[in-house]
Amino acid sequence: MTGHGTTSRTTTWLQRLLVAGGVLAAGYGVAGLVTDPSVAKQPYLRYTLTVLLGHDLLVMPLAILIGLLATRWLPQWARPAVQGALLVTATLTAVALPLVLGYGRRPDDPSALPRDYHRGYLIAVAAIWLTTATLLALRAARSRRTSATQHQEET
């Protein structure tokens, strides 16, 4: 498959087995999808292409760009924590967005989406960034203490 001379015979057979099983399972899925009258084909294709292209050409480049711009002017030591917090915020947003938009609410069913999701999202994001700020403050204090001791030793 990948043509690396170093792979052993058992690995090669395992690879063939995995690929063959995969072709069968994926083929079963495609055949089921195509023949199932309850799946409207055109909307299905439209939706799938939209999420694929939307992710690959819009969401991912945008996330990378925002991450770049947001951490560009940060001091070196603060970058990892902020990058991590951005990642947590971004993926939480993907889960929270449909709830925050709230199109799933039902006038006759108050138990469907019963919470205030704007508030919930703000609380979660605040928790993420408060934790990050605390980590950064601890780190800054520690490095100041270290450099202070070094300074004392030097004098």
């Binding site: 690995t11 995995l18 994926a26 070196q76």
Partner: protein, 386 residues
Amino acid sequence: MVRLPEPLTRLHPTRLSRLFTSRLRSPQLTSRLGMLLGAAVAVCFATGYLSHAIQHPPAWFYWPSRPVNLYRITQGLHVATGLAIVPLLAVKLWSVYPKLFRWPPFRDAAHAVERLSLFLLVAAALFQVTTGILNIALWYSPMSFFFTTAHYWTAWILAGALLIHIGVKLPVVRRALAAPSRRPTEAAGLSRRGLLTAVASAIGVITVATVGQTLRPLAGISVLGPRDPRVGPQGLPVNKTAAGAGVTTAAAGPGYRLEVVGPSGILRLSLGDLAALPQHTAQLPITCVEGWSATATWTGVRIRDLAAAVGGQPGASVRVESLERGSPYSTSTLPPPHADDPLTLLALTVNGEPLDLDHGHPCRLIAPNRPGVLQTKWVSRVQVLT
């Protein structure tokens, strides 16, 4: 991370993938993320297939009525793991994103086929995760196809494309995981361990923010739970209201009769007749396929007593029909383990009060270890199948 393009000539296709300069991307990172992602997809596939098989049992399939909370655990796991896939998938795809722009796009015919299978893999993964999120948020309109069957068939496509992917990348994974973990040269930003910690934190935050929809003790801090197991009529969530099912008058009317059909004849019982039969109480959860669940105390008549009253033998299946019409969930069949289980009730009350109309008044089915869509409400007919 990317370096911003200085002259626009950098955007020439042969150079595009070199725009991405993060030193964090490596086969080691991708392999480690891949293993976690593979495990998560396997959990989702197994629990999802189980839920499908309970609702559409193949001939070989057997599902017991105990433990009472088993389905609650498997389906809660399905939704929680699906949400945990969001950060895993995001970072996995980030780690291989430059490869999307490799130039030339493929080396030979085999490579072209492999890349096509990757499109199938990524598309299926994004489809499953996004439709799952839309579904638990009850936001169906962006999916102008039937969610349940589309999600089911796409699960097979995802599983198959993933097996192909693992088959192709196996040597890369082996080599990457065997290689001594070299300290990446101190780069500006996250280390590999830092990135994996961030992924774990994201999974933690997402889980805590939502899992209270099925873990009642966490309901107070799950600020983004699509359901709250404490909220609803009689302190219990509702998936389909009586108004939504169009049964309001039929269910509330005094003319209501339950038809019980079996080998020895037909009974027609009013609500008063039902209340005069021996009553039993059971603590059972409503477990929605959407991942929420809530336990309640139900009181009513045992299904097996009703079946016996019309000549049903132990070991028979029992079909339960609703006043609701024209929904795929308006009838359900209790397989023998559930039909015989003493906890399986035609409930008349919940938590000590007569059922709210939205909980299925005059009576509803409640059985252990089953999805909520099979716990038929507004029951009009019980038939012993022979």
